[in-house]
């Protein structure tokens, strides 16, 4: 038990933060825990969660991907255009995923092969992807995606939960598996932990980065497809600043920005925590100006809980 606790202490601390948030809100506003509201929280966490999972992969290698918000918009526009062109649905999904993967691989190429700093390289593609999105759409949202395409990710499982939630959890499971059980996952952690040592142990660092940036971008691609489904629109200006939310979900979930450490479960909880917080502030009708302050304070506290958790644990076992 203690061993399990120790192994997952990062996940515990963000779970604690999540529970505290939920309990506080439901004391302050009993309707907070209504079924529809919980469904809203989960549904809203899907976008950040998927993007956060992808970001976690990239951050584990010691990198970062600032282009995900722009890529979200670009994939959404192209996906919406293809859907309006009535591309057969399975091919549509595959093309979009493949395209998203390539956007990620290009980032990985800049960072791994050309050795650009991840921050600056993906800041460049953040602009490039955004620009391409505007150019191909002329700046206008791609409207009226046919229902059949919208239903792919958006059909209702219950009255309030859609298939997108399943996609989210499936993606989380698959990526957890990839990170924990496959070679590429091990290599990702190795590269993030100590790049030189990894290279000397035979890890092909460049290839690993390209693959991982590609895999990570699949999370954003799924988020884009779900966005098309939910909104029926591909909007070239959407997703601005989402990269920070994705990073926040990962970081709150215990992923170290220095690389080598992080896991998907923590990120998922981090995304749900974020969503629970946002929904809570809205349900309570907190003034938007104060929402900033509350959000900021919660981020700091959640991050700090993780730190004191670590210290307390070290003390207790003495």
């Amino acid at each position: 038990m203690k061993a399990i606790y120790r192994k997952y202490r990062r996940e515990w601390s963000v779970l604690i933060a999540l529970f505290v948030t939920i309990i506080l809100f439901s004391i302050l506003e009993p309707s907070y825990l209504s079924a529809t509201n919980v469904a809203t929280i989960i549904t809203q966490s899907v976008t950040y969660g998927l993007m956060g999972i992808g970001m976690t992969c990239v951050v584990i290698t010691g990198g970062i991907d600032l282009s995900v918000g722009s890529a979200l918009a670009l994939v959404a526009c192209i996906g919406a255009q293809l859907a309006k062109a009535e591309v057969p649905i399975p091919i549509w999904v595959l093309i979009c995923l493949g395209f998203g993967f390539l956007l990620g691989v290009f980032n990985g190429f800049l960072v791994g092969k050309l050795k650009l700093q991840a921050f600056i390289g993906t800041m460049g593609t953040m602009q490039i992807y955004r620009g391409i999105g505007y150019v191909i759409t002329g700046g206008y949202p791609v409207l009226n995606v046919p229902r059949s395409y919208r239903n792919v990710f958006n059909f209702k499982l219950t009255s309030t939960i859609t298939f997108s939630v399943v996609v989210f959890f499936l993606f989380a499971v698959v990526i957890t598996f990839v990170l924990k059980k496959t070679k590429i996952g091990s290599y990702a952690y190795a590269v993030g932990g100590n790049e030189d040592a990894a290279r000397l142990s035979g890890v092909r660092v460049e290839r690993t980065k390209m693959l991982i940036y590609g895999i990570g971008m699949m999370g954003t691609t799924l988020a884009a497809l779900i966005m098309i489904s939910r909104l029926g629109t591909g909007d070239p200006s959407t997703g601005q600043g989402y990269e920070l939310d994705a990073i926040a979900a990962a970081a709150i979930g215990g992923t170290s920005m220095a690389g080598g450490r992080g896991n998907i479960f923590g990120t998922v909880i981090g995304a749900v925590l974020f969503s629970a917080l946002k929904v809570g502030l809205v349900v309570m009708g907190v003034d938007t100006f104060y929402q900033y302050i509350v959000t900021g304070v919660v981020i700091v506290i959640a991050a700090y809980i993780e730190i004191i958790q670590g210290t307390m644990l070290a003390k207790k076992s003495n």
Partner: protein, 498 residues
């Protein structure tokens, strides 16, 4: 002489691990006091507590009768305690002088006097006979040179206590000699010195007394003049052991054709290096710090590019562009620098050991934890890892045990050519013997071994042949019957080129 440093009932518990257990002894003023013990006995932990790196769980330290409790390293340095750390910790982007004076720059109103800093550095490095410029970037130095700088760093302070945690692990005898002269000079000035080493001859050469730890407990303190090797070793490991670097088997060299041939290889730090390596052979490479041995091995392995020349494996030319290519061809390189190039700090022992050859641990497309674990247990016990727990984080191991994990990693790869760069660096005396035995067994199994080492006794004791390098050039090849310390040392400093 009076008691100067008193350790009183020191206990230190790490999560899931008791590193020090109710330990008490004292050190006299102005003596050179050795702290001895196996890997993981708690030596570094004890010094780290003294230096305020972390606090003791229980107990206290008194210096000069006063309770010494440092809440940070900066405090202990201010108090006048300096330390040479076991792992080389330096700032690669800064110059040698900046590293040396970090935390105590000569300054006026916060403005650093760079000129003075460089001048002092030059003087200091001169005293140590090292060929390093104050303005060199730290990251460009060889491991041995970095070690010299960290020693210089401790000497530079006006400390009352200086402790050395394996200062000589990458130094050759020549440099060690210089260091000892300086340490004796410090002792004459009345400075108290704590000295950790796994090299028995050093202890006898320089230390006055030795305190011995075993499994975190204090065993005894011995006067070096009244004791001998055997007594010390018994106290350390609780039994007798043959620990001399001595071959137990005759040469296992097989075949007429070399496994590995290197012809006129030229790289960034060496020129025209040629040698042959035969199956079952243990080939020693000796030289002073910075001679270029590490560079040659990195090129052969594929970690660095080369300018010209050839590397042939079993008669076929190799074009290793990356370590992966080297590994796939059956070459393993155990790097000398475990912290920067060896350990993955975020991995546990079994993951650290299995990284180069994950293919061996797959069931289908999935990595099997069980296979990794079995391998880790097996290889861990072969190298005498303590604790031999596959899920223990390697970064929390003692220095010597971390080195053993790296050895175990490369033994997991089934390579046919094993290159050991300073293989016994930081390894305790009992385990050393086991590792020598292991190398012999590998040789007997037909593996070709290169052993780069700065320890002359080890090179002479273990090798079938020895190549000597100096300033990036091969200076001599010696057969076993030609080995002599004098000859070898001659070629390391001023030998003719072959």
């Amino acid at each position: 002489m009076e008691k100067y440093i008193e350790f009183e009932h020191i206990t230190k518990v790490f999560p899931g691990q008791k590193a020090l257990d109710d330990l008490s002894f004292s050190v006299l003023k102005g003596e050179i006091h050795a702290i001895l013990g196996e890997n993981g006995a708690g030596k570094s932990t004890l010094l780290n507590i003294l230096h305020g790196v972390f606090p003791a769980t229980e107990g206290e330290i008194r210096i000069d009768g006063k309770k010494a409790e440092f809440s940070s390293i900066a405090d202990s340095i201010e108090f006048g305690i300096a330390k040479v750390h076991q792992e080389i910790v330096s700032i690669p982007e800064m110059t040698v002088a900046e590293n040396l004076f970090l935390g105590k720059e000569p300054s006026r109103h916060g403005i650093i006097d760079k000129k003075k800093m460089n001048l002092e550095t030059e003087k200091l490095l001169g005293r140590l006979n090292c060929d390093i410029k104050p303005t060199d970037r730290m990251g460009e130095l060889s491991t041995g040179q970095k070690q010299m700088v960290s020693i210089a760093k401790a000497l530079e302070t006006e400390a009352k206590v200086i402790s050395f945690d394996e200062p000589t692990s990458s130094l050759s005898d020549k440099e060690v000699e210089t260091l000892f002269q300086i340490i004796r000079g410090l002792k004459e000035k009345g400075i108290t010195i704590l000295y950790i080493s796994h090299k028995m001859n050093e202890i006898f050469e320089i230390c006055d007394r030795a305190s011995i730890l075993r499994d975190g407990m204090y065993i005894t303190t011995l006067d070096m003049k009244k004791t001998d090797r055997d007594e010390i070793i018994r106290a350390m490991i609780g039994r007798d052991t043959a620990m001399f670097a001595q071959r137990t088997m005759p040469s296992q060299r097989k075949g007429e054709k070399p496994v590995l041939e290197v012809e006129n290889l030229c790289g960034d730090a060496f020129e025209n290096v040629s040698f042959q390596l035969y199956s079952g052979e243990i080939l020693g490479f000796f030289g002073l710090v910075g001679a270029g041995r590490t560079e040659v091995m990195r090129v052969v392995f594929g970690a660095d590019p080369y300018k010209s020349g050839k590397v042939l494996l079993n008669g076929k030319e190799l074009h290793c562009r990356s370590p992966r290519d080297g590994i796939n061809s059956g070459i393993a390189l155990i790097s000398e620098n475990r912290k920067e190039e060896g350990i993955l700090p975020n991995f546990n022992n079994m993951d650290n050991m299995s990284l180069p050859c994950l293919d061996k641990f797959m069931s289908g497309a999935v990595i099997s934890t069980k296979k990794k674990m079995d391998n880790a247990k097996k290889k861990g016990s072969m190298v005498g890892l303590k604790p031999n727990e596959p899920e223990f984080m390697t970064a929390s191991l003692s220095g010597g045990n971390a080195q053993k994990v790296i050895l175990a990693r490369w033994m997991s790869t089934d390579a046919s050519v094993m290159i050991f760069d300073e293989p016994t660096k930081g390894i305790d005396i009992g385990a050393k013997a086991e590792i020598y035995l292991l190398m012999e067994k590998m040789a007997a199994a037909g593996i070709a071994i290169i052993m780069v080492s700065s320890e002359l006794t080890e090179v002479i004791g273990m090798s079938d042949r020895i190549y000597v390098m100096r300033d990036g050039k091969m200076t001599m090849e010696l057969k076993r019957n030609e080995f002599s310390e004098e000859k070898i040392l001659n070629y390391t400093v001023e030998g003719d080129e072959t």
